[in-house]
């Protein structure tokens, strides 16, 4: 996964260079976006293309992976992070070319099998013995947030697995091998294969998604157009439909 991400980044650098030397404003941009944004951003890209004749090439991966790639010198026009901390890292690296803006929030939900056969209604239920609970690894934001939420609820869970990717949590619940997992609301909405059990705001953790144009942008105008569209009412509507809370 990591290797593939780097290969894609290298490839993007090459193709972007090709676009840059052609002269005149290129009509395409490269966006590094958190993997959880894929369903919403793919729709946004389709709209942007039809309205502004701007083609978008995405590199979807975990926010940490994208941050690493950018710091290692990958070229991109826009970076959309699943939290503000990694955006700050990129900004501190002098890579952000304009303002950063929080454009969406994502909350956690308990993913359970369709129909909720184990009757799970709260975080406290996850501590029941005999229940197979799968969480994201604390090294990824979803896992860190899940731990925070469990701490807020004063619940101790013995997870069967700490998945390095949120998709691992989702697929194990969807396959019926895990009884429950903690993931983003947007993951449950777009997955469509699991049911979501809401977590009260008092216990929940809210992730702030942040977007910025990058210094390495070949196409500043295009990057700004994309940036603006994400924050526009149309862009926000798409994000809302994908399970995000809008700003």
């Amino acid at each position: 996964m990591i290797k593939r991400g780097l290969a894609v980044a290298g490839f993007l650098v090459l193709t972007s260079c090709g676009g840059g030397v052609g002269g005149g404003p290129p009509s395409n941009i490269t966006v590094f976006a958190a993997a959880s944004l894929q369903p919403a951003f793919d729709k946004i890209a389709a709209r942007v293309k039809s309205q502004y004749y701007l083609a978008t090439t995405f590199n979807y991966a975990g926010t940490q992976t994208l941050t690493t790639q950018l710091i290692q010198g990958a070229q991109a026009d826009v970076f959309a992070s699943a939290d503000t901390a990694h955006m700050t890292t990129v900004q501190n690296g002098g890579l952000v070319g304009g303002t950063t803006s929080v454009f969406a929030h994502n909350k956690l939900e308990i993913a359970v099998e369709r129909g909720n056969p184990k009757r799970i209604h709260s975080l406290a239920d996850l501590a029941r013995s005999g229940l197979v609970v799968v969480l994201a690894d604390p090294s990824v934001p979803a896992g860190k947030y899940a731990q925070e939420a469990l701490a807020n609820a004063h619940v101790t869970v013995h997870p069967a697995s700490l998945e390095p990717q949120v998709t691992g949590v989702l697929s194990k619940v969807a396959l019926g091998e895990a009884d429950a997992g903690i993931v983003y609301v947007s993951d449950i909405v777009t997955s469509g294969k699991v049911d979501g059990i809401a977590i009260p705001d008092a216990e929940n953790v809210i992730a702030d998604y942040s977007i910025a144009r990058l210094n390495s942008a070949w196409n500043r105008a295009g990057a700004d157009e994309f940036f603006a569209y994400v924050l526009s009412s149309q862009g926000q509507a798409i994000l809302s439909g994908a399970g995000f809370e809008t700003v």
């Binding site: 090294s139 069967a160 700490l162």
Partner: protein, 261 residues
């Protein structure tokens, strides 16, 4: 007896091939955060993951030996279409993306799996997310390497040894245990080494079927993957430790098993 000289183009390509292998390893060593290797080595998580890796890979190899050698024997005796089908089935895990293998293992041994569901309902046994699941995942992916090597050994074996043993009155089991197996030792050894190495580095099927829990299913490759997200230096340090341990074991075992290198 002198051997024919190796043609220059072959030598050049061999050198290129060696370089291709060695450069990434050299990169790992040159760029290694040596200051972190020490702390990583003594960190309890490292010892846990390393111990688990060794336990799982050795157990997987043992299971592969018990099941794989008989499978190779049967394979080597079949002919024609049956042989092609059996061989394709055996080698399937080699071409299957390991993650797909992990999903397939769920469908067989998971709580909803063909075998896993009756097991779960009758005895309450759950295989996924256990150390046993990690061993199963590694065995599934690595056993074909053993089977292929042993079958090759069987096919190139001089079967007159077995015939001589039979003529001396040895029944099929005695021939197998006293003659076939000892004569296959080099093939079994190289197959077991390949199998073990593949099991040690296994990632995709393990993380899918067994998940990632330190102390239970988090082997070194999984720990490296997780560490790569947050602290790449630690990941490189872990990789180096795995590399050193593998090398030490491979070199140490070779003499013991084969008598001479």
């Amino acid at each position: 007896m002198s051997q024919a000289r190796i043609p220059a183009p072959v030598l050049a390509l061999a050198a290129a091939g060696l370089l291709f292998f060695l450069l990434p390893l050299a990169g790992l060593i040159v760029r290694a955060p040596w200051g972190q290797v020490g702390p990583a080595l003594v960190a309890p998580e490292t010892a846990t993951a390393l111990g688990l890796s060794l336990f799982c890979s050795v157990t997987a190899t043992a299971v592969a030996l018990v099941l794989g050698i008989p499978l190779a024997v049967v394979l080597s005796r079949t002919q024609g279409t049956l042989r092609s089908v059996l061989r394709a089935l055996t080698t399937l895990p080699m071409v299957l993306p390991p993650v797909v293998g992990g999903v397939a293992l769920f469908l067989a041994f998971g709580r909803r799996g063909l075998v896993g569901e009756p097991l779960h309902q009758a005895f309450g046994i759950q295989i996924p997310f256990t150390t046993a699941a990690a061993v199963i995942a590694e065995t599934f992916v690595a056993m074909p390497f053993l089977v292929i090597a042993v079958e090759g050994g069987l096919r190139s074996m001089d079967h007159r040894y077995e015939e001589a043993a039979r003529a001396l009155g040895a029944g099929s089991w005695r021939v197998f245990a006293r003659v076939t197996l000892p004569l296959l030792r080099p093939a079994i050894f190289s197959g077991a080494v390949l199998c073990w190495a593949r099991a040690l580095g296994e990632f995709g099927a393990t993380i899918t079927f067994a998940g990632n829990l330190p102390g239970r299913t988090q082997t070194i490759p999984l720990a490296v993957y997780v560490a790569l997200e947050t602290r790449p230096e630690g990941a490189i340090a872990l990789s180096l430790i795995l590399l050193a341990v593998s090398l030490a074991i491979l070199i140490g075992m070779r003499d013991r098993w084969l008598g001479s290198p």
